[in-house]
């Protein structure tokens, strides 16, 4: 009985994070009800799974296991940085969220999104090279053994690590899975360029995952220092973590490429933006 409570309740409660998730879910649910459209259902499924998976790995007992088992930590980051944001971006939730958000929140959101400094920052972060560099750079940064050591020991760094992964994941997949025709907005890039970035981020992830998996020595000794959630060979834990970093992470690039190819067909079926409104076309 206590085990259920342990699994369902947060290991380290972050009230503001729970509030943020609750507000997002509430707005989305309200938006769905207000729109009453059957074609929202697949998107709602993707959004629901993405949002709840990100909540589960941060604010339930899963977070405890992620702190004390390397391979579970890697699964946590796979969800925070790849799978959760991928599903959320794929569902294109802006319209439904806006439909469900109360007026003051919608105005506040618009004020933030349209303010010049935020727009500039967003354009910089969504520059293809920078987006790809950040995506891979953060994985490498937090997996640098000495930095990883500190991040697992310090509560503050630990949350900074997880939040930076979640935010960067959302930015990256938002950039990647923008379904509008290239040039629709200044950050809607050509499909070819996006596929290039996807494959460019895949190679270093494979290399890092393989390096962790094949390493004969325990590189991440912080899990021995802090103790593991249950007795397991440190090398086995590390190898499993390496595989998670290697295979599913790289698979995401392949799956996304297929989705992007599908976008090309969609774009070809309707008039491109440059035909309809030549003045807005930039690329």
């Amino acid at each position: 009985m206590t085990d259920w409570a342990f699994l369902l309740l947060p290991w380290e409660t972050q009230w503001w994070l729970i509030a943020l998730f609750a507000l997002t879910a509430w707005c989305y649910g309200r938006g769905l009800v207000r729109r009453r459209r059957w074609r929202d259902v697949p998107a709602a499924l993707a959004f629901g799974i993405g949002l709840s998976s990100m909540y589960v790995v941060m604010q339930t007992g899963v977070d405890y296991y992620a702190q004390y088992m390397f391979f579970i930590h890697r699964i946590q980051h796979l969800i925070l940085h790849h799978l959760g944001p991928f599903l959320i971006a794929l569902s294109m939730p802006s319209a439904i969220l806006a439909a469900g958000a109360p007026g003051w929140l919608r105005r506040l959101g618009a004020l933030i999104v349209e303010s010049p400094p935020i727009r500039l920052l967003y354009r910089i972060l969504q520059q293809p090279f920078i987006a790809g560099f950040l995506f891979v750079g953060l994985i490498f940064y937090w997996l640098t053994p000495s930095i990883h050591f500190d991040a697992m020991l310090s509560a503050r760094l630990y949350w900074l690590m997880n939040l930076s992964m979640a935010v960067d994941g959302l930015l990256f997949w938002w950039f990647m899975l923008d379904p509008r025709p290239p040039g629709a907005t200044p950050v809607t890039r050509g499909i070819g360029l996006r596929v290039l970035v996807l494959w460019a981020v895949m190679v270093p992830q494979i290399a890092l995952g393989a390096w962790i998996y094949l390493n004969p020595n325990v590189v991440f000794d912080v899990y021995a220092v802090c103790g593991r959630a249950w007795p397991v060979s440190p090398l086995l834990d590390q190898q499993l973590g390496g595989l998670v970093t290697w295979i599913p992470a790289a698979m995401m690039s392949v799956i996304s490429t297929l989705i992007l190819i599908r976008f090309i067909f969609n774009h070809e079926r309707r008039p491109t933006v440059s035909d309809a409104a030549p003045q807005s076309a930039t690329s």
């Binding site: 405890y64 050591f149 509560a155 220092v225 802090c226 103790g227 593991r228 959630a229 007795p231």
Partner: protein, 197 residues
Amino acid sequence: MPCRYLIALSLGASLLAACSSGEPEWNGHDIAGIMPDLTYELTNESGETVTEAARAGYPRLMFFGYTYCPDICPITLARIQAALKQLPEAQREAMRVLFVSVDPERDDPARLREYTSGFGDQVIGLTGSQKQLKALHKRFRVTYGYGEPDDDGFYLVSHSSAVFAFDRQGQARLLFNQDVTADQMAADLSRMLASAP
């Protein structure tokens, strides 16, 4: 003009680098400011409930383990013993080593007393209820877990392999992992004790 900025920037960077390299590196891991003060409520070798106040004023080392531990615990306790032997007498006499058993099921106070006496007078055995042990572990962001018992009822316990060092005020200062030798530990402890009165 951009050239001037570059020069200023590189000057600034080298100044910063010069500042950060002033302090010599510890052999262990500096956890001052990262980890909280020592606070606990546990059971001692006489079966009495004790808190950190019982050893207030002593610099302390803390290590988690269990008496049936086949490898890490005896090796680490022996290494601590070897490190303490290298300290000047006054420093050595002041140190206390807290061995916190995470296996209260098998490690009763009597067994703990017998076990710790094998590693010198300064080693103090402590254990507690699961609630007390979990509170202490969560505070220091460490954990433990039990393996499945074999046919004889023997089971392994996963636990932290770190040795935490606290100064006289009970403030967390250093963390030694398994790579740190007895000589390195002694050097760090001597420096820590010298720097904090």
